[in-house]
């Protein structure tokens, strides 16, 4: 029983960590730029396929990271130029266009790799003891890694000049231009970074899930819910959102069953969208 409790709590933490890392890319794109990118899940999917491709070529797992960054980055730049910029400040059209894009990406990957499940083998096998109950090593690593990535991001966004410029652009674009900040280019760059982060998330979860063209659909809505619940424009918002969604899902699934867990997530999302749209941790 006690061991059960421990493991279930770690499961909750793990759930939160994965949610956060998977929503990260969207947090940048939707949270900072306000772009509703429905193709986010497909970027994750591409990242996962990168992991599989590296494995298929017998390269080390970590080689997937640069590959994913390259693929998603390039795609991101193209999409920003072709879809996002022309539809700037037309949220509904962006929504609809990126949905079309996600369809396009799914089918292209299907044409390229087929529909079969690709399994990416665990870079870390076996289990490690956490609070003297065994837990899968790679999942532990993923938790640690997510925390690291998020921490790094908090530091970079808070300290670096670029981070400050992005904040400036988000907060007051007109004034930012008066200071010579090339807002358009900066926004494009930010979008690309968001895409890369999505790809990175894809690489990280690849060994844990069945990799196939439709996997993105599982992540897009969850990611949106996380952001809406947490509040846009801050890593803290992202974390609190992941905590609520992932936590609620994990706890309810642990206490009752997965169906209730899923219902809880949907209901929570609806309630927040409706009653507290600025989320738990709203940007000032």
């Amino acid at each position: 029983m006690d061991a059960l409790l421990v493991t279930q709590s770690i499961n909750v933490v793990y759930g939160i960590a994965t949610l956060a890392i998977l929503a990260l890319g969207l947090a940048v794109i939707f949270g900072l730029l306000g772009v509703l990118n429905l193709a986010h899940g497909e970027l994750i999917m591409l990242g996962a396929y990168c992991a599989w491709v590296t494995q298929a070529h017998g390269w080390p797992f970590l080689a997937a990271v640069p590959l994913a960054l390259a693929v998603c980055g390039a795609l991101g730049a193209l999409v920003e130029w072709a879809l996002i910029r022309p539809l700037y400040r037309r949220p509904f059209d962006t929504l609809v266009a990126t949905w079309g894009l996600s369809l396009l990406l799914r089918k292209s990957v299907e044409a390229l790799f087929g529909l079969g499940y690709k399994s990416v083998s665990m870079p870390l096998q076996g289990t490690v003891r956490v609070l003297d109950s065994p837990y899968p090593a790679y999942r532990v690593a993923l938790i640690v890694l997510s925390v690291a990535v998020l921490a790094a991001l908090i530091l970079w966004y808070g300290r670096s000049g670029t981070g400050t410029r992005i904040k400036a652009m988000v907060g007051n674009p007109e004034l930012a231009q008066a200071l010579g900040i090339p807002v358009k280019r900066l926004a494009a760059g930010t979008f690309v970074v968001g895409c890369c982060l999505a790809g990175l998330g894809g690489v990280m979860v690849a060994p844990l899930v069945p990799v196939q063209p439709y996997m993105g659909l599982d992540y897009i809505l969850q990611s949106f819910f996380v952001l809406v619940v947490g509040g846009l424009g801050s890593v803290l918002g992202l974390l609190s959102g992941a905590a609520v969604i992932g936590g609620a899902n994990g706890i309810v699934s642990a206490l009752f069953n997965a169906t209730y867990g899923y219902f809880t997530v949907l209901v929570l999302a609806i309630l927040f969208l409706w009653l507290r749209p600025r989320g738990i941790y709203a940007r000032s």
Binding site: T164, A168, E174, P182
Partner: protein
């Protein structure tokens, strides 16, 4: 006039379908302050937005050091040596004062700001604070300092003294003088006549989207200005 840093003429522009400027001309030379004066809604801020490139001008030309710039984006104009302190939302509310000031600089040290902090110690005291917590007047001061400290050859100030206490207005005047001495040019939109009279080298008086009166301060008396301000 030949030595002028910025020249503009026949400027027509506005928002959507509505022309606010109906043909305005003017110029400013290095080490000179051009004060733009007029009632609300006569197009002063619109003129500034046109000059800095937020609004495309429908007709007319803007020359910076003899180069046409009306096609350029605001950031490009900044890189050519202009800067701008807007009338509304003059600072980044969710950035600290320090970040507001050092945003455009590679390094974050505050040495260049010493002379400004002398005049406005309150800024130095609140460096870590978010600009959003400042009062309207304090924001104006912060924005003013930021713009001047960039050491750009041409500074556009839109109502810099709005809501600023008068002793601080005097500090502003002194700092403007200091930059003038260093050869900087200013275009200042102002409603505060007293301030305008003290800093201006030339006036540009506007009414209903047109320049109705322009010339050196010496040639234009307060009565003429008041007549156009209708007070």
């Amino acid at each position: 006039m030949s030595a002028s840093l910025l020249e503009f003429e026949g400027l027509v522009g506005g928002y959507g379908s509505a022309p606010v400027l109906r043909g305005v001309a003017g110029a400013v030379a290095p080490g000179e302050v051009l004060c733009v004066i007029g009632r609300n809604g006569v197009g002063k801020s619109t003129l500034m937005k046109l000059l800095f490139g937020y609004l495309r001008c429908w007709h007319g030309s803007i020359l910076l050091r003899g180069r046409r710039i009306e096609a350029l984006e605001p950031p490009q104009r900044w890189h050519l040596g202009m800067t701008y302190s807007p009338q509304e939302r003059p600072v980044f509310d969710d950035l600290s004062l320090r970040d507001n000031l050092t945003l455009t600089r590679g390094r974050r040290d505050l040495a260049p700001f010493a002379p400004y902090f002398e005049r406005f110690p309150i800024l130095a005291q609140r460096l870590a604070q978010h600009a959003g917590t400042l009062s309207g007047g304090e924001k104006k001061i912060l924005s003013f300092v930021r713009a001047l400290a960039e050491d750009q050859p041409l500074v556009l100030l839109d109502e810099p003294t709005e809501g600023v206490q008068w002793e601080n207005i005097l500090h502003m005047e002194a700092l403007i003088e200091r930059r003038k001495a260093a050869g900087a040019a200013f275009i200042v939109v102002e409603q505060n006549l007293a301030f305008a009279e003290r800093v201006a080298d030339r006036y540009l008086v506007m009414d209903q989207g047109r320049a109705v009166l322009a010339g050196p301060r010496a040639e234009i008396g307060r009565e003429q200005l008041l007549e156009h301000l209708h007070v």
